[in-house]
């Protein structure tokens, strides 16, 4: 019997797990995928929003602002990439300026610092690639960018180090009340828990319906993106939004923490919770709308396109709380934008709710820091040499586009909660994330995974769940 079972190992579930790791609790995180960060978390804009967009008084407003304030420190503690690059929200018509002023007022009310409306020329002075059509902009200096994979992996690894268990490749099939808690049935057996946290992303409504009759609908809102080569990454420094609509924050143009240029997303409500396909029309829309904001985008430098599904709740706000008919069951649902930004604060908040059910006794052994995989390319020549002396695997560059060494890939595979798939290695090390998109490095990466898992080369998966249990340390 666990004290807490968290369903879903995305940014929300892992942030909750990391917070729970502070206390003397037995905690288990379950996910149907073979890795953390496989759902909404792996395909989004990777923005740490300043918090001016959410309606004051909502959970979104409170948790976004809190989350974005926690992020710089958290990124240092857990060793993941975060950059405070600032954001601009553009309008193309003077008549829209009151809309920007309204956002600035909201920002002030939400407690966001430094948000102000600037003229089109001031905006172009900050960001010379903006189009001449930009009439004015909202400037939000506290906005940032983050690597969602690293962030989520960091939260998960730190949780694991503090005693949280992870059961991946484990699909929840039902939940029933038992005694003073729940039995979570999965395709790999039953798990007993006093408290269940529902952080199941686009599937949160189905998990919710297993225990509660209160209505909840999560609509997958498809967002398509284009990722451009690092050569294009310097086109803008700030995250460039367009004035938001009810369907979201519009098409943005932003550098990523790794120096690529990201464009997107579209916004389309769909039924299929698995439909992460890109479409011709979606990518055309991204191109057309991104070109309204920024001139000279070298679309020919596209290295990949991808689609994410935002988990859009029916209330317009995050749905975090205990349903009236399901004690000891906590929803953390409807975590659409600004979900990634809010994750650290959602972790704290869910932890508070748990504290209202059972006593939270701090664990004196809690370790707040986590060390990530070393990024060989970022080291000085002296540091590189020291590393190679210790482990010659760091002297072999496997991924030439991103300069990722065999040492880093081995670490990604060997460390606790290590990668078991090509995509898992990619998210941890960036091997295969560059301009050749794993053309050259994948045979070697496949061989390293096969060696670790003791399987044939052809059995190594790009993503998804192995039929037999191979995820080692989890």
């Amino acid at each position: 019997m666990y004290d807490v079972v968290v369903i879903g190992a995305g940014s929300t579930g892992c942030a909750v797990a990391r917070e729970l790791g502070r206390y003397k609790l037995s905690v288990c995180v379950i996910d149907k995928e073979s890795d953390v960060c496989e759902g909404t978390t792996k395909a989004n804009s990777a923005i740490v929003h300043a918090g001016f967009d959410a309606v004051p008084g909502t959970l979104k407003a409170r948790l976004n602002v809190r989350g974005s304030r926690l992020m710089p420190q958290l990124s240092k503690e857990l060793d993941f990439a975060f950059e405070n690059n600032g954001a601009l929200v553009l309008c193309f018509d003077k008549e829209q300026i009151p809309g920007l002023e309204e956002l600035a007022r909201r920002g002030a009310e939400n407690g966001v610092e430094g948000v102000r409306v600037i003229s089109g020329d001031e905006a172009r002075a900050l960001e010379p690639a903006l189009t001449d059509e930009v009439a004015a902009a909202l400037y939000a200096p506290t906005s940032g960018i983050v690597c969602p994979f690293e962030m989520t992996l960091a939260l998960a690894e730190n949780a694991l180090a503090n005693g949280v268990e992870f059961r991946l490749s484990t699909r929840v099939t039902g939940i029933s009340r038992s005694g003073n808690g729940y039995t979570v049935s999965t395709d790999r057996g039953d798990i007993e828990a006093k408290i269940v946290v529902n952080a199941a992303g686009v599937y949160a409504d189905r998990i919710h319906a297993m225990v509660s009759k209160t209505p909840m609908t999560i609509i997958p809102r498809r967002g398509e993106y284009m990722l451009l080569d690092k050569e294009a990454g310097g086109l803008v420094k700030h995250t460039v939004f367009q004035q938001p609509t009810k369907m979201g924050k519009g098409i943005l143009v932003t550098p990523t923490v790794h120096g690529n240029l990201l464009l997107g997303p579209t916004a389309e409500d769909i039924d299929d919770k698995e439909n992460t396909a890109t479409t011709r029309s979606g990518l055309s829309e991204v191109k057309a709308k991104a070109s309204l904001s920024v001139k000279g985008i070298p679309f020919g430098k596209q290295i990949t396109g991808f689609t994410g599904l935002r988990a859009v709740g029916s209330t317009g706000d995050f749905i975090i709380g205990i349903p009236e008919d399901a004690p000891c069951f906590i929803d953390a649902a409807g975590i659409e934008s600004p979900g990634l930004s809010s994750a650290p604060a959602i972790g704290e908040y869910v932890c508070e709710l748990i504290g209202g059910i059972i006593a939270l006794e701090p664990d004196p052994g809690f370790v707040a820091e986590r060390k990530g995989i070393v990024h060989f390319a970022a080291l000085s020549a002296e540091e590189q040499n020291e590393l190679i002396k210790k482990d010659p695997a760091y002297g072999t560059v496997v991924c030439r586009c991103e300069t990722v060494t065999e040492g880093e890939i081995r670490d990604a595979i060997d460390r606790p909660l290590g990668a078991t798939t090509l995509d898992g290695v990619k998210r941890r090390t960036r091997a295969g994330m560059g301009r050749c998109q794993a053309g050259f490095c994948s045979p070697r990466t496949i061989a390293l995974i096969a060696e670790k898992l003791g399987i044939g080369l052809l059995d190594v998966r790009k993503n998804g769940v192995y039929e037999s249990e191979v995820s080692g340390d989890a």
Partner: protein, 420 residues
Amino acid sequence: MREFDLVVVGGGPAGMAAAIAAKEQGTDSILILERDDRLGGILNQCIHNGFGLHTFKEELTGPEYAERYSDRVKELGIPYELGTMVLDISKDKEITLVSRKRGAETVKAKAVILAMGCRERPRGALGIPGFRPQGVYTAGTAQKLVNCEGVVPGREVVILGSGDIGLIMARRMTLEGAKVRAVVELMPYSSGLKRNIVQCLDDYGIPLMLSHTVVDIKGKEKLEGVYVAAVDEKNVPVPGTEEYFPCDTLLLSCGLIPENELSKTAGVKLSPVTGGPCVDESLETSIEGVFACGNVLHVHDLVDFVSEESVRAGINAAGYIKGRPSSPGTPVEVSPGFGVRYTVPSKLYCESVEDGVHIRFRVTGVFKGASITVTSGGRELFRRRGRIFVPSEMLDIVLKKELLAGVTEGIEVRIEEAAL
């Protein structure tokens, strides 16, 4: 810091031929840097035959062709370091590299030959819509898996793009027992060599669908099939022509990109058309003492032409090291005219041409019974009629030194279509 007269970046066919030529010209202090664990580059995975017809007048496999050169490298005692990745080249020809044996290190060179080859255009760069499942590979990656790792990635195959590697892999996968359902080509003509279409598709009854493309990829985790549609004259898919091909493997042979990330770190000027460095007749880039040859310069169809070009780069680098006077006079631009995509070289110091200068280029479409003409300032320098010119075959003409006498204005290479 180790210092060399010549550092050759890349130990494939281009790098080896260049290094051998430089050594034969008397340059002794040479270092070849190769990222793989053997010399030969991509030839090592090209186990089919058809290499060497021009160079050796015999038909060799890729590894055999590579071995002729690697044997010569060893015979001449040219030093090479394997498993060595170059991370940066500065404009002062300081080269930062890393290897297991020597760690991270910076070496200095008097001259550098860029011979890094090219890479394949991946699915993401093509913008093919659909899911991103397992089972989508570039043709060269699949070739490596089959020929070097001994694993066949699938049983039912569709190939998008009719580049030579795609055609070769259509046959290779068939020989390995897979069913190749179709080779799908966006353009109305193949981008591969005629002989490969005959020997790799026709001989095995594999259909080549010209003016078609893949419009959707199905299967979230593992590839289940692709939709193929016809395209109109603007290469836009025609609605209603979609046809579903179940398959577990999609191979992409949609173009090769010269791999010039290192050239960029050095500040070498690149051509927006070829993606390779802009060079003069000595294959010297915009940086003095930095030369380029092979697929890093422009993508070749035949390795024999890579070798020939690389010999020239090696000889010229050796000349530079010996203190060859800088190119005399002012250069003239060599530019592509009608029907020509690009030319290599793109500038010419006419006075430094010895016997003649090779001009290599590709045409922009299929031309039957047309002529190649070369003019300068209204004067025709060269004309050659051909039965057919196609984009898949690199054209090579030699302008004799005497033709270039008195040329001071820009040189244009163009295609003149046959009168109807």
